[in-house]
Amino acid sequence: MPLSLNRRRFLGTTAAAGAAAALPWRAAHASTPFTMQAAWINDAEFAGYFIGIDEGYYAEEGLDLTYLPGGPDVIPESTIIAGRADLALTTPDTTIRAIVDQGAPFKIIGAQYQKNPIGVVSLASNPILSPADLVGKTLAVPPVNVISVNAMLQINGIDPSQVNIVPYAYDPTPLIRGEIDASLDFTTNVPYTISQQGVEAVSFLLYDFGFTIYNDTVVVTEEVLAEKRDLLVAWLRASRRGWNVNFEDPDLWPPRWADTWFDGTGRTIENELFFNNAQMPLMQHPDGYFAMSEDDIEANLSALGKVGIVGSRDMFDTTLLEEI
C-alpha cells in the first residue's frame, strides 16, 4: 500500500500546519474531543498511545484525546455503547459474540495484536510446551477465557475434560509454588514476574496451536463510524505513528514514564521493558500496525467458528486503514 506509506512518512515529518493542510476539511488548530477506552491498567501494552499523547501526535491530527484505563470490571465495549468513549480496545471473541448474540452495533476497524499474546505459561521445571502436555494437569484460566482454551484443546484433539481448569486470580504465586501446573495469561508479561522469583518460565501461544485470533481489536459503534470517520482515521494514523516510534527502540520509552503513565501502578519498569520487547513480534505487520489482511480476518473467523461464535467478514471494516 504505497499511498498509506507515503502519507505516513509525510505526516511523520511535518508539523501541525502540514497536517491541517493535508486534511483541508478540518480547521487548522481546532481540536476535537475524542475518548478511547483501553483494555487494562496502564502498562506497556498501551505504549504507542502514551507516546502519541506525550509527543502530540493526536494533537497534530486535531484530536484532543482522553485516555481511559481499563480494569477487571470495565467491559470496554460497554463504554462505547454507553457513549462514554468513541473507541475501545477489545478482545475479538467478546466483540463478535456480542454482535452475533445481542445485535450489538460494533465494527472492528483495526487490530493492535496480530497474534493474541495470550498463552499457557508454566515452569521450566515442569514444562508444558504444547496442548498435549496439559492432559491430566491443572491449568488456571481467567473465567472469560475458558471457552478459548476449550476451543484450543479441541482443535488439537484433546478432550477438555482431561484438563483440570480452575480460576486465575491475577497472582502467579500458586504457579510458582506448584499448586497449579500452568496458567493462562499474557506471555508478554507473566514470564518476567516469575523470573523475578528466581524461577524460569516457559510458554506457548494459543495462536500457535490453531486459535488464530487478534487481540486488542480497535472497535467502534456503527454510529461513531458514520459520524466521526475522519477522527477515527486520524486516531489510527497518530496511533500507528506512536507504535512506530515505540518500536524503533523498545527500551527507550518505559523508563521515561516512571513518574507519569507508570507512576503508582504497582508494577516495575523492568517488567514493562520485558513486556515492550516481547510484544513487538506479535504486533508487527508488513502493512503497518493495526493492519487487518484478508487472510488474517479469515483465520480469526474460522478460529472463532470452532468455538461456536459465527462471525462474518462485514464485522470488520478495513477501509479506514486504507485511508491512513
Binding site: 491498567i41 496502564n42 481511559l68 484505563p69 481499563g70 480494569g71 477487571p72 470490571d73 470495565v74 467491559i75 465495549e77 460497554s78 455503547i81 454507553a82 457513549g83 462514554r84 467478546t94 466483540t95 459474540r97 456480542a98 448474540d101 445481542q102 450489538a104 481467567p142 473465567p143 472469560v144 477465557n145 475458558v146 471457552i147 481448569i165 480452575v166 480460576p167 486470580a169 491475577y170 497472582d171 502467579p172 504465586t173 500458586p174 510458582i176 509454588r177 499448586e179 508479561n189 507473566v190 514476574t193 516469575i194 523475578q196 522469583q197 507512576d263 503508582g264 501502578t265 504497582g266 508494577r267 516495575t268 517488567n271
Partner: protein
C-alpha cells in the same frame, strides 16, 4: 493471681506473643512455602514502597469520604422521614432490607457499567454506610424522652419543634455511634470499586497492579494500610462522639430493620403497603437506569431481566446456566451460614471461658475483616486447595466477625443471678452455659443470624470467583467476559433477592420463637 499483669497489659502481652509467632513462621517460610510473610518483612516493604502510597491513600480517602458524606446525608434524612412517618418506614422496608443484604461484589460491576469516573466508588461507599446510619437515626429518634416532648407540646410546639429541640439532640449519641460503624464500611466499599473500576489511583487500583508480581509482602502491606484507614476512621468517630455526646454507647452493627405495625387504616391499606414494600425496590432500580440514561443493551431494567430469563430466544440456556450455578452455590451457602455462625458462637463462648486468648485473637480477627480477600487467595489455595473447605473458610471469614460481636454482647448481658443458680447447685461452667447463658441470649443469637445469613452468600460468591470457579460467583465473572449483560443483571438481582429471602426467613422464625419464649427482639 497476684503475679498476673492487669487486664489491658495481659491483652497486649498475648498479642505480642501472637505477633512473635507470626514473625517466626513468616521469616522461616513455614506457611505455604513463604506465601505468608513475616511482620517485619511486611513493614520493611511498606517502608520501601512509601513513595507509592500517598496518592493511592488520598484517592481512597476522597472516594470513601464523599460516599460517607452522601450516604449519611441520605441515611439521616431517611431516618427522620421513617421516624416521623410509620407508613414511609413500612413502604421502604423492602428497600432497606435489600440495601442491607446486597452482596457488593455483585453490585460493583453493575455500577461500573452504568456510572463513570469516581461515581461507582462513591456509590459503593455510600451504600455501605446507609443502612447503619439509617437504623441508628430511627432508633435514636424513637428513644426520645417523652417528658421533654410533652413539655414542647404543652407550650404549643408542633412535631417539627419537637424534632428540632428534643429528638435530634436525644438521637445524637445513637447517630454518632452509627457513623462510627459506618466509616470503615465506606473505606472498604471504595477499595472494592477501585479494584474493578479502572481508575489509576486508590488502594484498590494499587492492589490490582501489584497482584501480578507474586510478592505477598506488598499485598499484605496494602491490606495493612487499608486496615489502618478503616481503624482510624472508626477511632475518629469514637473520639468525636465522646467529645460531642460526652459518652460512648456500645452500639454494634444493627441488623434489625426498624419496623412498625401500621394500626390505622383497614386491610386494604395494609395490602397496599405490603405490595408497595415489595414493588419499591424494583421501581427504584427502574428509575436508576432511566436516570443514568444508559442504553437498554447494557443496562437491564427489572422487566429486561424478566425478558432475558423467560421470554428471549436465549431464555432456556440462560435459565439452565443460572439453575446449574444455583445448584452449586446454594448448598454450600447454607453450610457456610452454619459454619460462620458456629465459629462466631464458639468464639463468643470461649471469650467467656478463656477471655485472654480471645483478646489476643481480636486484632488478627480485625485484619481479616479489612484485608482484601483477593490478596489472600494464593495463601488460601496453597493451604486449603480449591475445594469446599476453602469456600467454607472464606465464608466463615466474611461472616463471623459481626456475628461474634453481637453474640458476645448478648452473652455479657445475661443476668449474673441467673447464672449463679446452676452454679449454686454444683453445675460446671459448660452446664451453666448450656442451661442459662445460651437460652438467655437467644435474641442475640437471632440478631447474629440475621447478620450472618446475607453475608454467607457473599462469602461463597467470593470463593467461587477467586478460587473454585463454580456457581454464581463464577457465572457473574464469566458473563462479564462474555458481554452477557442480561446474565450480569440477573446474577446481581438473584443474589440480592436470595439474600433478602434468607434474611426474611430468619426474621419470621425469630418472631415465632421469641414470641413463644416471651422474649423481645434484640437490636
Amino acid at each position: 493471681m497476684a503475679a498476673e499483669p492487669i487486664a489491658p497489659l495481659r491483652g497486649l502481652r498475648n498479642l505480642a506473643i501472637l505477633l512473635a509467632i507470626w514473625e517466626v513462621v513468616g521469616r522461616l517460610d513455614l506457611v505455604a512455602g513463604g506465601a505468608l510473610p513475616g511482620i517485619t518483612e511486611i513493614l520493611l516493604r511498606l517502608w520501601e514502597d512509601r513513595g507509592d502510597y500517598p496518592r493511592h491513600v488520598w484517592a481512597t480517602l476522597a472516594a470513601s469520604g464523599a460516599g460517607f458524606v452522601i450516604g449519611n446525608f441520605v441515611a439521616v434524612a431517611a431516618g427522620v422521614l421513617f421516624a416521623l412517618s410509620p407508613v414511609a418506614l413500612r413502604l421502604f422496608r423492602g428497600v432497606n432490607i435489600a440495601v442491607f443484604a446486597l452482596p457488593p461484589i455483585a453490585i460493583a460491576p453493575i455500577l461500573v457499567l452504568t456510572l463513570s469516573g469516581m461515581a461507582p466508588r462513591i456509590v459503593l461507599a455510600a451504600l455501605g454506610v446507609y443502612f447503619v446510619t439509617m437504623t441508628a437515626t430511627v432508633i435514636g429518634l424513637s428513644q426520645a424522652d417523652s417528658r421533654a416532648t410533652d413539655l414542647i407540646r404543652a407550650y404549643g410546639g408542633n412535631r417539627r419543634d419537637e424534632l428540632r429541640l428534643v429528638l435530634f439532640r436525644g438521637a445524637m449519641p445513637s447517630i454518632l455511634a452509627g457513623l462510627r460503624v459506618a466509616a470503615p464500611n465506606a473505606v472498604l466499599g471504595a477499595i472494592l470499586a477501585e479494584f474493578g473500576g479502572g481508575g489509576r489511583w486508590g488502594l484498590g487500583a494499587y492492589l490490582l497492579g501489584s497482584l501480578g508480581r507474586g510478592e505477598p509482602d506488598r499485598l499484605w502491606g496494602i491490606g495493612l494500610v487499608a486496615t489502618l484507614i478503616a481503624g482510624l476512621s472508626y477511632g475518629a468517630f469514637a473520639l468525636l462522639s465522646r467529645r460531642v455526646a460526652g459518652a460512648t454507647r456500645a452500639v454494634t452493627l444493627n441488623s434489625a430493620i426498624p419496623d412498625v405495625s401500621v394500626q390505622a387504616g383497614g386491610p386494604a391499606l395494609r395490602v397496599a403497603l405490603a405490595g408497595g414494600t415489595i414493588a419499591l425496590p424494583f421501581v427504584l432500580w427502574w428509575a436508576f437506569i432511566r436516570l443514568t440514561g444508559v442504553p437498554d443493551l447494557i443496562a437491564k431494567t427489572p422487566w429486561g431481566v424478566v425478558d432475558y430469563l423467560f421470554l428471549a430466544h436465549t431464555a432456556e440456556t440462560a435459565q439452565a446456566r443460572l439453575f446449574a450455578a444455583l445448584a452449586e452455590t446454594l448448598p454450600i451457602t447454607v453450610l457456610g451460614m452454619f459454619a460462620g455462625l458456629g465459629f462466631a458462637f464458639a468464639l463468643a463462648v470461649s471469650s467467656r471461658l478463656a477471655p485472654r486468648a480471645i483478646e489476643a485473637f481480636m486484632p488478627v480477627a480485625l485484619i481479616t475483616q479489612t484485608m482484601p480477600l483477593v490478596a489472600l487467595t494464593p495463601l488460601l489455595v496453597l493451604i486449603l486447595g480449591r475445594g469446599p473447605s476453602l469456600t467454607l473458610w472464606v465464608t466463615i471469614s466474611v461472616t463471623f466477625f459481626p456475628a461474634f460481636v453481637t453474640l458476645a454482647q448478648g452473652l455479657a448481658l445475661v443476668p449474673r443471678s441467673a447464672e449463679d443458680l446452676p452454679r449454686a447447685y454444683g453445675a460446671g461452667r459448660w452446664r451453666e452455659i448450656g442451661m442459662v447463658t445460651i437460652p438467655a441470649s437467644l435474641p442475640y443469637l437471632f440478631a447474629a443470624t440475621r447478620l450472618t445469613v446475607p453475608r454467607a452468600l457473599l462469602g461463597v460468591m467470593i470463593a467461587e470467583w477467586l478460587a473454585t470457579g463454580r456457581g454464581l460467583g463464577n457465572l457473574l465473572n464469566q458473563s462479564r467476559g462474555y458481554l452477557d449483560y442480561g446474565m450480569i443483571w440477573t446474577v446481581a438481582a438473584v443474589s440480592v433477592l436470595l439474600s433478602v429471602v434468607f434474611y426474611q426467613a430468619v426474621v419470621i422464625v425469630e418472631r415465632r420463637v421469641l414470641r413463644r419464649m416471651g422474649m423481645a427482639t434484640a437490636e
